[in-house]
Symmetry: C2
Subunit: 167 residues, 2 copies
DNA sequence: TTCTCAGCCGAAGGAAATAAGGCATGTTTG
DNA sequence: CAAACATGCCTTATTTCCTTCGGCTGAGAA
């Protein structure tokens, strides 16, 4: 009541309140999560248990969603990275998104504004496998009449982590 | 000399030789890398040190590129996910890609075939910040005369890991 | 002032990662 | 064929790290 902090939270996903140490900690973990709490503590000028508590809090706050291993797709039989734009005029497709998730080649599924309603990030062994994947997608109920076009990605670079260093 | 294994490596990024346990191990680590070697060993029917050796080998083979924390962008002041298509007719832009990497909102930089030569995956606080980002991009040397258009992503779903379960 | 709370520290216990030695299987070499 | 080797695994042992606990300190509220 004394504070009017609740006035500035119009969003559904409320942004977490983070101080500078939280942000640098998140940045460090986003680029390499194998660091020990002792090492992180040295960088943050904190004791290992203090770092541990912060990580624990960030985890159960949902800021840290998971810890995963980043694999090299080109070493795993899928060197070809591509984006598939799907022109879906019908909104009924959303019910068939689960079918797309079953395709192992599909890494990301985006519903985007603009001409194409969907944008898929896919990874295949070669162009033939990409063609096969396209055929498989268009055989899914809800994608039968849709058109799609492919954009091969010849380069990829991971940028910095999405930690907002500005306000 | 007796074996002609070196005949079958025409690719620059040679696919690693993996057995079934390697693949399931990679799949497990790609979805959650916090599991202990003991737990992984139970799932793979291996002892903890055996799992450790496999992970170590996969790491120095480059199959596992890194271990990172996955952050929730919507909790970090950047709830808006978008794709920026940039029409760059000049190939001289490649020398200015480093400037794009400096922008904290840019998560991925793809050089794709098709009409748009570049595809950026970006994350901003709101549409105003997105406009500002666009302006900043077009002020970069090499992107001065280029055109771009935005596609907001209203949905995102991470698919399975890029571990090829087929041959 | 006094109370409470949040965040940090140091110590301690337990759990997990890592290293070392030995064994079995399959492959190359003499 | 037999010997030497390599590979992959297991068990044991050591060390490092994670995790919990109790107490301390400073900020804010009563």
């Amino acid at each position: 009541m004394t504070k009017d902090t609740n006035h500035v939270r119009p969003r559904l996903a409320a942004p977490a309140r983070l101080d500078d140490k939280d942000r640098t900690l998140l940045g460090l973990l986003a680029e390499d999560s194998t660091r020990s709490y002792a090492e992180l503590g040295k960088l943050l000028h904190l004791s290992p248990p203090a770092v541990h508590e912060r990580v624990k809090r960030l985890r159960q706050d949902g800021v840290i969603k998971a810890n995963v291993a980043v694999l090299d797709g080109s070493r795993l039989g899928r060197p070809l990275l591509a984006f598939v734009h799907v022109d879906t005029t019908s909104w009924a497709v959303t019910r068939h998104l689960l079918a797309l998730k079953e395709l192992p080649e599909v890494e990301e599924i985006h519903t985007v504004t603009g001409e194409s309603a969907m944008l898929l990030k896919v990874r295949t062994r070669d162009t033939q496998a990409l063609e096969d994947l396209l055929e498989r997608i268009h055989s899914i109920e809800g994608f039968k009449g849709t058109r799609s076009y492919i954009a091969l990605s010849t380069y990829l670079e991971r940028g910095p982590s999405p930690v907002a260093d500005d306000q």
